[in-house]
Amino acid sequence: MEATSAMVASRKTQETEADPDHPVLEIRHAKKRFATPEGQEVVALDDVSITVARNEFLTLLGPSGCGKTTLLRVVSGFEDLDGGEILIDRQDIARQPAYRRPVNTVFQTYALFPHLSVARNVAYSLEVARVDPAEIRRRVGEMLELVGLAGFGDRRINQLSGGQQQRVALARALVARPKILLLDEPLSALDKGLRDKMQQELKALQHELGISFVFVTHDQEEALTMSDRVAVLGHGKLQQIGRPQELYRAPRNVFVARFVGESNLFPATVTQSDPAGIALRLSDGQEVRLPASTGNVLMVGAKVRLMARPEDARPATGKNNAGGLRFQGRIKQVFFVGAHYKILVHTQAHGTLKASLPAGEDLGSTPAPGQAVELHFPPATLHVLLDEEAGR
Amino acid sequence: MQKSRKTARTSAATSALAMALAVVVAPAAAEGRLNLYNWGDYINPEVLQRFSEEFDVEVTLDTYGTNEEMLAKIQAGATGYDIVFPSVWMHDVMFNLGLLAKTGIGSHPDFKNIDQTFIRAKTDPQAEYCLPYAWGSVGIVYNKKVVDTPIKGWADLFAVAEAGKKVILLDDPRETIGIGHIMNGTSVNSVDEEEVVKATDYIIERIGDVSAFTYDSIPLVQSGDVAAAHWYVGANIFVSQMPDILEYVIPEEGATIYQEDMCVLESAPNRENAIKFLEFYLRPEIAALNVAQQMNGTPNIPALELIPEEIANNETIYPPQEVMERLQIFHDLGEDIRLYAREWRRLKTAAQ
């Protein structure tokens, strides 16, 4: 039985001995352009390089039109690259047709075959590979059990709910044990409760199977929850790739800061730069000193942006006066979201700021629209952003 | 079984379409009505116009493609028609079925205009019912540029075919098996099984050289795609248009003749007008008017003086007596028609 499954695997790729420490997928300088029907040219992928480690859950995150789906389709083989390489286990597969690549896809619409039963949908890749029927039965049974659909094998696709169809799509894509599973916004058609449940289940499944998942979504919360690493794509470029915490705490540019989590962004000018740190002045005249960052050397006079996350805001008191930024304003709107309040504060100098205050914190009283408030962001929570976004 | 008598442009398939065409000729505020049911293109519309004006009658014209089609429709209870134009044998059939009305046309003073030899229906020897209307031969039309020597008869036709030039026969069991009878010297009305089989065999022996059985052969003869075709005397219309290319002959071995009679139906709603129309058609100038356009034969003797000379002098339209004697007309065969149907099917399957 092991021999047959090895045969299936070898159909998909000329097996190079897998090196556990080498990335399973390497995308190097991927370039892809499309012509629109109006005759214009759209750059979908602009020199994108990403690697995916073995057993990694990598999410491609970005707004629609950012190139994330194109990237997925380039890997699965539905689109050809205009330039660059795609390596799976060190082998360039960019010229291989889709059906020879050792990757499988869970489609956004599932794309289940309506004329085949659940079991035959799942068995499809094995039947195509002419695996022994007894072996097919065994593996399909296993797979259906794994996704919680044991006994559903004889159903027709149109007799299943959305969530069940999702599971069939997963089982179908996983049964041939691909090296990489590609998931194209697979949860977007599900309602919120089911989506949360599926997120956990997917993560558990990935952990259990030990297959690399490349997951495409435009939902940053989903990306942060599930992924080992997240690659943020914008305008065809890789804006940043890293662990969810890195992306959140240290976005590389304004695009990432805006797309991952909520943020307040303040234009600022560098007034002093030395090995110990930098000083910045905001448009309202406040100055703030920050410790030196390792990455960038900033020239005096450079225009940058200062990012402050809403949840780092604290009501200003005498005690937490040391450094950081302070803003006075009036509360415009208050949203109670259980553990904290989200408030919008109108300031003279910077327009509307977002802040998130723990519900237990003593504000003197419950925040209410019209109230005067002073917010404080400690220096450690501030982050300097250099560019608008990559390549601009 | 002939189709549209004048130009035979239609085939079995088109007869249904032809039926949908109805012509109405009417003066303003006509008193009476007259409904004709005729073959397609088988009467000069001017004749209807004249009658309509003179008698203040609204005339309508419906058309059919075969005798059987007309009979089936009348039998099925189609009422409203006053006059039909059956072939002679169908005239007998309809008489036997009691579908025809007595008109006494044979005792009208002008009936003396009619050549007595054209009172052919066995059931109506005194012409008490119907008026002989028109007649013509069924012969051969050929392309003079394609054949080396003029075709004179059926033997020549099949010789041309054997030489590799294409010929077309009519898609009509009795006409086409009739050629076999003529060549075998048996009657075209034979119901002797052996004779019918032999007549059919005559065609089957030559069927490899026959490129088609169809009524729609004139354009192919004109273009030279086909050297010759079995066709009606109406081919003279095309001959007169293209005298350098086309020629129509009555085969020297003999041929068939068709004749239609003008009959009033027992169910005719306008019997008086119908009889008036029969009497109207006895007038030589009216018969001549029809012939001038139809280019076929009329039994009306004085009319011959009035028709255009090139028609009157055309021996394929008005053949001399010795040729007339070689022409045979079809009779009703009753049940024996099935013998011909059976042989016709045998002939057709031999073609495949």
Binding site: R11, K12, S76, F78, P97, A98, Y99, R100, V103, N104, T105, T109, A111, L112, F113, P114, Y124, E127, V128, G148, L149, A150, D154, R155, Q159, R172, A173, A176, A204 | M1, A12, A13, T66, E68, A72, K166, D171, D172, P173, R174, S211, A212, F213, D216, P219, L220, S223, D225, E335, I337, R338, Y340, A341, R342, W344, R345, K348, T349, A351, Q352
Partner: protein, 310 residues
């Protein structure tokens, strides 16, 4: 119980109202003539068409082998003509499918306005009389016709090809007539085919041929079979094309039936032949319907388990 009962009644009445009209229509204009034909086929032929009301089995005897009288003789030729008609009809179905299937794929990938244009063009011939269109083919196919002139002009052949008045011309003519009937159902199912299905198949390791056989063909099969039936039935009974383009030398069952009703004046035999044609078509249809519904029934009684992923 009462509420349920009245509801059911109401539904029944509503259904009756909806289906009553069409049922009546079909009963009068479809079933009626059919019953007349069935009865006629067991009666004696009348002398001048029509029937004599005597039970008479020789109409079928002529086709299937027990008749042997002066007029009613068994002749295997009838079955041969029948077999030949089926063959020509199948050729017509095959050829029109071979043209329409790829065409449907190509057209379904065009921009919207062009799709509509092509569909309009395909139905355009309907605006012209069938007879006129078939005559146009006579003129095209004859030895001095356009096709032969073009072939000779290009030096492809040195003498005209025998095309007119052959079985080839008959099939060509029928393909020409029935292409819209094949195209529309095929196009309807091709257009519905989700390209994601094709991609999914590639993704799961199926090459072009496997994808075609396992996904594209099965998913467009309803259109293919629908189109094939709609083309097969009228091709089988066609008599216009064989008489115009086949020069009546190519005899199909339709010509034989037409001849019985007209020149042979033998309505019952024509009716018997029609019944045999209809029975054949019905059997073929039943086989098809069973084939199509079998899979559904096999699936109907599956259990209803629920569960989470492990």
């Amino acid at each position: 119980m009462m509420v349920r009962g009245t509801l059911k009644w109401r539904q029944a009445i509503a259904l009756l109202g909806l289906l009553g009209g069409p049922t009546l229509f079909l009963g009068v204009f479809f079933l009626g003539p059919l019953v007349i034909m069935l009865i006629y086929s067991w009666l004696e032929p009348g002398l001048y068409g029509g029937v004599v009301w005597n039970f008479y089995h020789l109409n079928y005897g002529r086709i299937f082998g027990w008749a042997n009288t002066r007029y009613e003789q068994f002749d295997p030729a009838y079955l041969r003509i029948f077999a030949r008609s089926i063959w020509l009809a199948l050729c017509t179905v095959g050829l029109s499918l071979a043209i329409c299937y790829p065409a449907a794929f190509w057209i379904s990938r065009q921009p919207e306005w062009r799709k509509n244009l092509f569909i309009f063009l395909i139905t355009l011939p309907f605006f012209v009389s069938l007879i006129v269109r078939l005559f146009a083919w006579v003129l095209l196919l004859r030895p001095t016709g356009f096709i032969n002139q073009a072939l000779m002009g290009l030096g492809i052949v040195d003498q005209p090809l025998e095309m007119i008045f052959t079985g080839f011309a008959v099939v060509l003519g029928m393909v020409y007539i029935f292409i819209p009937f094949m195209f529309l159902p095929v196009y309807a199912s091709v257009e519905k085919l989700d390209m994601a299905m094709v991609e999914a198949s590639f993704d799961l390791g199926a090459g072009r041929w496997q994808t075609f056989r396992r996904v594209i063909l099965p998913m467009t099969l309803p259109g293919v079979i629908g189109g094939s039936i709609i083309v097969f039935i009228p091709s089988l009974g066609n008599f216009i094309v064989p008489s115009l383009l086949g020069g009546a030398k190519v005899m199909m069952i339709g010509n034989l039936i037409e001849q019985q009703f007209l020149s042979a004046r033998n309505w019952p035999f024509g009716a018997a032949l029609s019944m045999v044609v209809m029975a054949t078509v019905l059997v073929l249809l039943l086989v098809y319907v069973r084939q199509m519904t079998r899979e559904d029934r096999a699936v109907a009684a599956a259990p209803e388990p629920t569960g989470d992923m492990r």
